[in-house]
């Protein structure tokens, strides 16, 4: 098994009397990892602790095999970070900013400049790169943040809400890019997002944080397998016939306001439904297996934390 990209032991962070992170012990293997939790759950704090932007109150952590406290600089040597908030150096133009970030990671000027242009091309930024970064829209700032995080060719990319402020096509573009980093280039990505569908689409592993604790950490496949299967059908015609046949076969069918039919089942695949459609000569339909699976998992994972908070 490959060495973990992140390994923490009893990691904790308190601000005065408020406990933001509590006894976090995880070992995250390489890949694309989704990190999510409710607002204030401790996701951003945990990322900041891993980057030493916040000093952990308790515990230890290793990033790419380097202890974050004893090897402060080395632990960030091959890490790229795209923070959630607008972080840029005022007065710089886009390409100057990305070049500067490359140099801050130790790249010589010429190579940093060349790579800055490559990264700005990569994130889909055109002539705007010659404009002052102070004048950028939110979407352009997101692209610049991603470019500066990639410029020094990191082995681990940590992104906090990377699709905030992007329009639909921009979001699609950036998600494809992030998704390909691990698959095609072996760059691990930890992505913190409140947009569960983004995480579900590109991540092969999920870590859920609630109340400063890790409440779920597993591969996406395992998590989905643990969750009761749900299939949604959008019949092109003969909706009534679908209701009739499914009811007769003993399935609980929920009729949704968007015209879809929602069926809970204990079967892992949708093969049974295809057979049913063939046997009863039902009209074609659009099938969606496990829609909102992550949403369900998320809410399910939060339940114990919520109960704990209430008690």
């Amino acid at each position: 098994m490959a060495d973990p990209i992140i390994q923490t032991s009893g990691l904790g962070k308190t601000y005065g009397s408020m406990r933001a992170l509590h006894d976090v012990s995880v070992s995250i293997p390489p890949g694309t990892v989704g990190l999510f939790g409710a607002i204030g759950a401790g996701t951003s704090t945990s990322l900041k602790c891993l980057l030493n932007l916040e000093i952990p109150t308790t515990g230890t952590a290793q990033v790419l095999g380097h202890n974050i406290r004893s090897s402060d600089r080395e632990s960030r040597e091959r890490v790229g970070y795209g923070p959630e908030q607008d972080c840029h150096i005022p007065g710089m133009v886009g390409c100057e900013y990305v070049t500067y970030c490359g140099q801050l990671s130790g790249m010589p000027f010429r190579q940093a400049r060349q790579r800055a242009h490559e990264m700005l091309d990569l994130v889909g930024m055109g002539q705007e790169r010659y404009r002052s970064i102070d004048t950028y829209s939110t979407g352009m700032k997101q692209r610049a943040k991603l470019a500066q995080a990639l410029v020094h060719d990191p082995s681990l990319l940590i992104l906090d809400e990377p699709t905030n402020g992007l329009d639909a096509s921009g979001r699609e573009y950036i998600l494809r890019l992030i998704g390909s980093l691990w698959q095609d280039f072996g760059i691990s990505v930890i992505i913190s997002s409140h947009l569960l569908q983004d995480v579900e689409r590109i991540c092969d592993r999920v870590l859920i944080i609630a109340g400063g604790r890790v409440v779920e950490h597993d591969s996406m496949a395992n998590l989905k397998a643990r969750r009761a299967q749900v299939v949604e059908i959008a019949p092109l015609a003969g909706r009534e016939r679908y209701l009739e046949v499914l009811g007769a076969a003993g399935y609980q069918v929920e009729s949704l306001s968007n015209g879809r039919l929602r069926i809970a089942t204990d079967q892992a695949s949708s093969q049974w439904l295809l057979e049913l459609m063939r046997d009863h000569d039902l009209p074609p339909a659009h099938l969606v297996s496990s829609p909102d699976a992550l949403q369900g998992l998320f809410l399910q994972a939060l339940e114990p934390a919520d109960k704990g908070a209430q008690s």
């Binding site: 932007l53 960030r76 923070p83 972080c87 840029h88 970030c101 494809r176």
Partner: protein, 331 residues
Amino acid sequence: MKPQAIDYERWNGTRRGVAYRSWIITQAGLRQLLRYKFFRVLMFLGWVGAFAIAAFGFILSQTLAEGGLLAELAAKGGPRAEALMQAVSAILLIYPDLLITGAFKAIFWLHSNLGMLLGLAAMALRVPQLVTRDRSSQALTIYLSHPITARDYLIGQLGIIVGVLLLLWTGPLVGGWLFAMALAPDTLFITYSLTALGVALTFNGIALVVIGALAFGVSAVAKTAARARMAWIGLWIVMGAIAGHGRALPEWIRNLSFVSDLHLIRDEVFAMKDTLMDAAGVVPILSAQLADNLNNAADQIEVVDMTGVYVTLSIMVVTALVLARGRIKPE
């Protein structure tokens, strides 16, 4: 469609060390500063000062040296002028430390007024852009998420202050001296002006530490650029005015003005009182009136107990650095 994946290439170059990363911060800060017209004007004035030092050195050496331009002109001006020049040259041979070292000390002392003024004015421009701006714009998060520590960042920012003072003060001082020495007709001028240069550079170093630390402290504490600038101007001009005009005030209050403290330290480092009194002891050979004037000037230099000055200034510098170090973390 995966256009991104096609264009991405891994980079396996050699990464440069920590000193390079701090230097990059310094370089970027100075480059940003050079974009300001006001700073370029300050630089121009600083190098006018260098020209003044060079011109002074040139005139002094040509006046005093035996083979100088003035001696050649005096030779053409008749026996009386020639005799006067020979007397001046003789005094130079007997008292080179007094004439050369003393004269250069005086010009460097005057130049320190200009250098310090320009340095303080440049800091009024730069102070809001040190820690204040990086904190308010969240740029500190970007800096510290890269493989640099808060100390590396601090060194880089201190480099900007050193760079500013080098461009406006130390550079013109050394440049002007070098130019003057290049035109001097005798190596005696180099030998004896080096002492004065050493004294000037010592004070320059002290001022650099004090101005740098306080600029950092102000920049770290202030939340906005406007407040940082106001605080700097307050410390510099308002406190300076209080110290300068409030003779009735207790000494410790006057010591709170770092500009006043630096002026007192300068007088001590340059030892101008001793230089003037030594000169007054020798000059009667040429002019009793001049000796009286030198004695009067020496009397006007205030003698104060420097312990309070050093203690207050040290406390201010250490406090400023501790404050700055504590604030270098993301908001």
